[in-house]
Assembly symmetry: C2
Homo-oligomer: 250 residues x 2
Amino acid sequence: MRNLKLTIRYDGTDFFGWQTQPGQRTVQETIEKAIGEITRESRVRVNCSGRTDSGVHAVGQVANVYTASRLSCETLLKAINSKLPDDVNVREVVEAPQSFCANKDAVRKSYRYVVQDGRQQDPFLRKYAWFVRQNLDAEVMARAGRCLVGRHDFRCFETEWPNRLTSVRTITHLSVNRFGECIWIDVEANGFLYNMVRAIAGSLVQVGRGFWPETQIADVLRAMDRRLAGPTAPPEGLFLMRVTYHPCPT
Amino acid sequence: MRNLKLTIRYDGTDFFGWQTQPGQRTVQETIEKAIGEITRESRVRVNCSGRTDSGVHAVGQVANVYTASRLSCETLLKAINSKLPDDVNVREVVEAPQSFCANKDAVRKSYRYVVQDGRQQDPFLRKYAWFVRQNLDAEVMARAGRCLVGRHDFRCFETEWPNRLTSVRTITHLSVNRFGECIWIDVEANGFLYNMVRAIAGSLVQVGRGFWPETQIADVLRAMDRRLAGPTAPPEGLFLMRVTYHPCPT
């Protein structure tokens, strides 16, 4: 069996998230079905870097799949895409070592959370940003977020803690930048807890609104209590941008 | 009765165009209903600068409406928007002279046609660009389009000519620019024939594909025959950007 690494993008709007669920349209099932139609294999199992929730988008999701197909990566790429609906596609197919696991081997993941602020929601952003009807101070949000960079116990930003063995993660990059009416919150880490980016976004927006002083993010982090963090921001603003692996996993 | 000038934007994806039609969801009906709910007038008639077709978007559509309401423009703006679905909103409401007609008084209109080219359709652009599975030469398209600027008989780009008394119009600006995988065809004119921008886009893409020499646009214009022009580009790539009126119509 070959092990293939796939890079996938999807508009999450009309998907019930990544993971296959009975009676729901999911990204996983859609891709597995397309691959099965091409390779004629009945049990295709696509293993992703990390599930995304309903409504969350991906620009650079990564997954791996075992197949006995002898088609070249280039042929598979075209053939699979020809079977996919227009809200999801595979950007790249490359050979990976037998042992490569898109989930366990991920070294870093990068998410972007998009907020649109101002008086009026932009109809073209309604499915791709969280609309906050207020002018947010992006510079204060940027300063407030700095304390999150580094190795910390992020349980305060985890929905339904404890989900994992440890809630210690390392954020390697966090920036907040304004582009017109949009604010991009970019977060890169060696791993994320459930709803972590959305809880960080919800908390930084509390600061941007002026509801919280900028020092409160550090207080929340220190308190390690989910109830003190901001609300979980809605899924439509979240994009999985990139998953990084050790050099040359392929 | 007051006459109000409205600036409107909408994602045309889920509308059956501007104009009210029985049994269809249209922008006109949606806005008239919202205004009626606020002003409690039973016959609200919103008159726009020019109807847009099913699937066509607008960033700066302009319309006027007569009302007996005494609410301030600011209050009306907020109240109307509170009644509108999230794929359309009114960006501005200002007082206009009694005689102001959004259609007849338009001096210039500006459209953008968006093409996405390359090997693979971007799922996030599928409703906001025409996807052409080929690398287009945007520089050649830009040069080819130059001959259209100025006063010409554009009947070669009119669907079902003759629709109007005259097919002579003046294009005051036409540019083609690439931004990554997107090509923007921007056209400003003192008026447009039916499907004119989409026929121009369809023709320029023939040049960009290398199917036509760049001089063929001038040949088509000169021949004044719709059958010689390119195909009508699909509606999802078209945006009504701006409508210009004589200084201070308000």
